[in-house]
């Protein structure tokens, strides 16, 4: 089944590019290592939690930064969370942008914070898109592998008879 080979190649190329371009780092590999038969959807589950959590954090950050009197400690607390979770799943570019945002917080540089938050959002949605594509690629591969094996088994039993 040539399609499986093609899909596999596409998947590997795409996946490799994510690391090369710094979207993902070694920690994403650690995440994949944790997945096993007892929890075959672990990576997707954790990443889904990350998506939900991040979007809430982005909203909280936007709110905090738009206050009349900005509480930079509060902003920093949110960024700390975001930096933590992005680091834990290997979302490298998001993590780095959070680190930059923290510096602006420390300096109480509101303008810097505003601009940097936009960049954090940008990186987040980029990696979200990439990961969703990656997961779609995996399920597409799986579907094709499943139908390939079904075909084999069916063919085998037909011949036996």
């Amino acid at each position: 089944m040539e399609i499986v080979g093609q899909l596999q190649k596409q998947y590997v190329e795409f996946s490799t590019s994510l690391y090369r371009e710094g979207f993902l780092d070694e920690q994403f590999i650690q995440l994949q290592k944790l997945q096993d038969e007892s929890n075959p959807d672990f990576v997707v589950e954790v990443v889904s939690i990350f998506f939900e959590d991040s979007e809430k954090l982005i909203n909280d950050l936007a709110t905090a930064i738009q206050q009349q009197v900005v509480d930079f400690k509060q902003v920093d607390a949110h960024v700390h969370q975001f930096k933590g979770s992005s680091s834990s799943i290997g979302a490298n570019r998001v993590k780095n942008m959070c680190i930059a945002l923290r510096s602006f917080c420390d300096e109480k540089n509101l303008d810097g914070c505003l601009r940097c938050l936009q960049q954090v959002k940008h990186e987040y949605f980029l990696v979200k898109n990439k990961l969703e594509t990656l997961f779609r690629g995996i399920s597409h591969l799986k579907e094709n592998i499943d139908s390939f094996f079904s075909f084999l088994i069916h063919h085998f039993f037909r011949r036996k008879k």
């Binding site: 290592k33 954790v46 933590g84 834990s88």
Partner: protein
């Protein structure tokens, strides 16, 4: 990962010899909680998670005013692993509360943090933390932890 091997895991045999150590994992970050839980489960540990210090103390039956109630949870727990940076009660404060408890003081407590701050690390180790681990945690970190736990069992 920074660790001290000044381990005093001596009090791990609490009655029944369990195949699977029971670990209480404390972290305010949901993604990290999910991760540490899986890391520990993959290392054959039973895991209970808590989202903050107060919940952890509540689980252990160590909340002031509730000490009188007999709590089985504290007896089951073989190790506590906690994040350092948490709102209201940080990992260091939680560590102190645990070390103040006659029931729990010998249970090993591991502190995790995303920040490598030597003064923070020393403060925790001096207060009796068994180990300090840098986040994000890797599979190999928890395996080391597990080895420590196993070595010290009877």
């Amino acid at each position: 990962m920074v660790s001290t091997c000044d381990s005093d895991f001596a009090n791990l045999n609490k009655g029944n010899v369990e195949e699977e150590p029971h670990v209480l994992a404390v972290d305010d970050n949901l993604v990290d909680r999910k991760l540490v839980e899986k890391l520990l489960k993959n290392s054959s540990c039973k895991v209970t998670t808590a989202e903050n210090g107060l919940r952890a103390l509540e689980y252990l039956g160590l909340l002031d005013g509730k000490k009188s109630s007999m709590n089985n949870n504290a007896l089951k727990v073989n190790m506590i692993i906690t994040d350092y940076c948490m709102p209201e009660m940080n990992g260091y404060e939680l560590l102190k509360k645990i070390k103040e408890s006659s029931l729990m003081k010998d249970v090993p407590v591991v502190i995790m943090s995303s920040e490598n701050v030597p003064t923070r690390i020393n403060k925790c180790l001096e207060e009796g933390a068994q180990m300090f681990m840098l986040k994000p945690l890797k599979c190999s970190d928890v395996k080391k932890l597990r080895c420590h736990l196993m070595q010290c069992r009877g």
